[in-house]
């Protein structure tokens, strides 16, 4: 598990540390150069000073003029005066055994008795002497080291402090995430209200928006599931309640008339339960069927006739079939098409009053067909809901199973056909349009 806080902490600390290290290197190099230059200048000046004393003939004073300090940096400078014939004329007290001086005038690094020296030599041809002033390179290095250590020592205290501040700062910076996490963790399992995003930082807002969007979707899906469960429970349990009540009435009835009537109601109820069971099994079969099994050429007109013949039509309802539908052929599963047409037809019959008409028409270029009834139609906001299982539109009687349009819709999906429901524009009633789909467009009606 990765912690954002830990990761940011490591990154920030490493970056700060690296910056600090760079600064130390920079200061070290920079100080060293500056120090070398300052010390070199001092060497040069000291050499000139000694030389001017030599020039004025006061050689014995040279030794006394040598700087003398007692702080660990004592005897920084050593001075030697050599005559051209190789005789040591004078030297300061801290001067090394070997010769500091060199042949030419100017700066040089020399190794004397295993110790590195920085030397400045002045060659005085008039007096016949060489004046050499030098200091130990070891001392110089120590000076730079002490300087840098002086810089690093406080850093050793500051770095942990900085680390702690970064850690705390990250904690504060990430607190909106912790707040949201706490809020979600404290919720009930079915609390899908969106999380308030008023005072969240802009970086967290997209996450929150996505989360709230997800909450919304889950809530909708759950409500949908609850609705379907509720509808199904109602459709399945109400007939059972009717059966049981009627059976108890038949048992308790003291007169034959009541008993016979109750038994007749039981028979009616069993018939309806049988139909419901058939529809449920049909739906289960459709659900289990793999999509687009299209291996037959189907005569739409013949299937429609078969579907219409299978339905009992109450007296007074007129059924009209467009002759253009005869001979239209599509490829697909015959049973699926039969289920679509039969359930649409049953639905139209159930909602059309006596003296009404049900009309089947073919669409132009035979790309589909259309069914129009003269029933009450369906409220616009319910058009998309009536194809859900067990959904009953407002104001409909409980005569149907609540599954007819669901079956038609699922079967249409299996055939890759499009089933659309709409209210008729200029007339009372529902229009169901079945489009055979792009694959079927232009399916040529076979002229017989």
């Amino acid at each position: 598990m990765t912690s954002l806080r830990r990761r940011l902490f490591v990154l920030l600390t490493a970056a700060t540390g690296a910056l600090w290290l760079c600064a130390v290197v920079w200061i070290y190099v920079g100080s060293r150069i500056e120090l070398e230059r300052a010390l070199d200048t001092r060497l040069q000046e000291a050499a000139r000073m000694v030389h001017s004393l030599v020039a004025s003939g006061n050689v014995s004073a040279v030794a006394a003029a040598t700087p003398f300090q007692e702080d660990g940096y004592e005897r920084q400078l050593s001075c030697q005066i050599w005559s051209f014939d190789g005789r040591l004329v004078a030297q300061s007290s801290g001067a090394p055994e070997g010769s500091l001086a060199q042949a030419e005038e100017g700066f040089a690094d020399r190794d004397i008795g295993g110790e590195g020296w920085r030397v400045y030599t002045i060659v005085d041809a008039n007096k016949g002497v060489r004046v050499a002033v030098g200091d130990r390179i070891g001392l110089r290095t120590r000076l730079v080291r002490d300087l840098v250590l002086g810089l690093i020592a406080p850093a050793l205290f500051i770095v942990p402090l900085l680390g702690a501040l970064i850690w705390l700062g990250l904690g504060r910076g990430l607190s909106p995430l912790n707040r949201i996490a706490g809020e979600i963790a404290a919720r009930d399992g079915d609390d899908m209200r969106p999380i308030a995003d008023a005072d969240t930082p802009s970086e967290v807002k997209p996450l929150l928006r996505a989360l709230n969007g997800l909450f919304g979707k889950v809530e909708t899906a759950r409500r949908h599931e609850r609705d379907i469960t509720a509808f199904a429970a109602h459709e399945l349990r109400t007939p059972l309640a009717g059966l049981k009540t009627q059976a108890q009435v038949a048992l308790a009835a003291k007169d034959d008339l009541t008993r016979v009537s109750a038994l007749q109601q039981i028979v009616t109820s069993v018939d309806r339960a049988t139909r419901l069971t058939r529809q449920l099994l049909t739906l289960a079969k459709l659900d289990a069927m793999p999509p687009s099994r299209q291996h037959e050429t189907i005569d739409v007109g013949a299937v429609l006739q078969e579907a219409i013949d299978a339905c009992k039509v109450p007296d007074g309802i007129q059924i009209k079939i467009d002759p253009a539908l005869r001979g239209v052929r599509v490829r697909g599963d015959r049973e699926c098409l039969y289920l679509i047409l039969r359930n649409l037809h049953e639905n139209a019959i159930a909602h059309t009053a006596a003296n009404g008409a049900i009309t089947w028409r073919g669409l132009a270029d035979s790309g589909g067909l259309m069914l129009e009834d003269e029933g009450p139609g369906i409220a616009e906001d319910e058009l998309s809901l009536v194809t859900q299982r067990f959904y009953r539109a407002r104001g409909t009687t409980s005569a149907g199973t609540g599954l007819g349009l669901a079956i038609a819709s699922v079967a249409a999906d299996k055939l890759n056909m499009q089933l659309a429901l709409s209210n008729r524009e200029n007339h009372r009633g529902l229009r169901c349009t079945l489009l055979f789909g792009p694959r079927f467009a232009g399916a040529v009606p076979a002229r017989s």
Partner: protein, 221 residues
Amino acid sequence: MRILVLEDDPVLADGLRVGLRLAGWTVDAVASCSEALAALATARFDAIVLDLMLPDGSGLDVLVEMRSAGDTTPVVLLTALDEISDRIKGLDAGADDYLGKPFDLDELAARIRAVARRKNGRADPVLRAAGIVLDPAGLRAMVDDKEIPLSRREFAVLSALMERPGIIRSRSELEDRLYGWQDEIESNAVEVHIHNLRTKVGRSKIETVRGLGYRLRVPSP
């Protein structure tokens, strides 16, 4: 008692109408919320049996509208949803009791008796007054410890009088209790039943208050 049943399934509605009549009550059945509201506006019921899913809305809407209008008639909900949250929702909307489908007809009758009893402020399931004991569950009547046979309608008239002893029940009130919308009322039916009752329970126990109605005569203490 007169019961209103709101149920849209024709078989179940018929079963309830006939079955609750067997429990000694007058039953009116309606199949939609709008019919139920119309029924409630025109007649007085002693209890209501309410289905939840109806073609024009939810039975809960009817319940809420009733309760907000101050109607205190006891309501028993019938529903296919039996999750606890649904039960709580129904009871909190103002229902007095709750039965999940499918249910037992005798249990429904017992629950209706219970809520009606509580509505009338009684705890005793048996009605006792003027030496008469009436058992609504068993549809039995005892006068001075002797059981007397009563017809369904005689029983209904007697229990109306015994629910509030000493209080006058008008003729139309009694007719409301005896006849649903589908029943034909004979013009002197109540008088006939009262007459028959008097011969069975004792002439002096039921008093006619001229022009107002009838009441059970309670011996003054």
